[in-house]
């Protein structure tokens, strides 16, 4: 059961990572990158490493995504491929 869950979550990391690279819309790509981080955090919890998961969830999917968002707003490239 746990192994199946871990495999599903890892598939989630892969899919959202590939989407982050392939999507043309920058906003959507940014959200996918954050999602990959969130799946990684979930997989850390499943693999019994809550300390790392906490840092990954806060920094990877929270702060990094927001920094991308602000950068997109500053450079005025939001939305266009």
């Amino acid at each position: 059961m746990l192994e199946l869950l871990v495999i599903l979550v890892c598939a989630g990391i892969l899919v959202s990572g590939v989407l982050a690279v392939c999507l043309g819309n920058l906003l959507a790509a940014m959200i996918s990158a954050g999602l990959a981080s969130l799946f990684a955090a979930v997989s850390y919890v499943l693999l019994a490493a809550p300390d790392v998961a906490m840092a990954e969830a806060a920094i990877g999917s929270g702060l990094a995504t927001l920094i991308f968002l602000y950068t997109m707003r500053r450079t005025g490239s939001g939305g266009e491929p």
Partner: protein, 232 residues
């Protein structure tokens, strides 16, 4: 030509990582080092959470290096982005106010959740030696609370001077505690300068909660400043 190089690079990385992953087999027993840590950390450091005990005491120097890297990141982001915000402060501020204010839902939700996030951050920092967490993670949680504050109201202004002073002070205190460790205990960043106390209580495990708190303050302040630099 460029594409060919990219493909060759990807193939080489693939070969290297396949070599690493292909020979992997799960160990059935713990390594001697893990055995040592698991049995000695609770007894020697008085910390039930082995991970934080290792990070702050046995690998304290690595943690100091990590914090130094983060400090350098904050400083270089400040150098790169500071002069622009000085020139265009009025323009960008006007632009960000012109942009639509966050919705009622975000503002009200942030008011409800923010105290909980800060409280959770403080809990994670102070209970680092008892349960999962520690200074670094708690600092990141606090910084994500600041991030929510910025998202919820675009008029939020951070006091950079205060944050820089707090952060530098925490860093200086952290290194001073490390040096106190050389004088009064067995080495740099040794946590035995304070009494171990009762196992499993909030104020126990020597200097670990103190170092954890300083780390949390430092990381939280640095990450908040980095985000704010990107904002305007």
């Amino acid at each position: 030509m460029k594409r060919l190089f990219a493909i060759i690079a990807v193939l080489m990385f693939g070969a290297i990582f396949f070599g690493l992953v292909g020979g992997y087999s799960e160990r059935q027993t713990r390594s001697p080092l893990a055995e040592y840590y698991l049995s000695q950390v609770p007894r020697e450091l008085g910390a039930p959470n082995v991970v934080t005990g290792i990070l702050i005491t046995y690998r304290g120097f690595d943690t100091l290096g990590e914090v130094a890297v983060l400090f350098m990141v904050a400083a270089s982001v400040g150098v790169l982005l500071a002069n622009k915000s000085g020139d265009n402060a009025q323009v960008t501020n006007a632009a960000s106010i012109d942009e639509s204010e966050p919705s009622e839902l975000v503002r009200t939700g942030a008011e409800v959740i923010l105290p909980l996030i800060f409280l959770f951050g403080a809990y994670v920092i102070m209970n680092g030696h008892l349960s999962a967490g520690g200074g670094f993670q708690g600092g990141a949680v606090v910084a994500s609370g600041v991030m929510l504050l910025m998202l919820a109201s675009s008029a939020t202004q951070l006091n950079h001077g205060f944050l820089s002073v707090t952060e530098s002070l925490a860093g200086v205190l952290y290194v001073s505690i490390g040096i106190l460790g050389i004088v009064f205990a067995d080495g740099f960043l040794d946590s035995h300068i304070l009494p171990l106390g009762t196992f499993g209580t909030l104020l126990s495990a020597g200097a670990i909660p103190l170092i954890s708190a300083l780390l949390g303050i430092k990381v939280g302040a640095e990450l908040s400043v980095v985000i704010d630099r990107f904002r305007h």
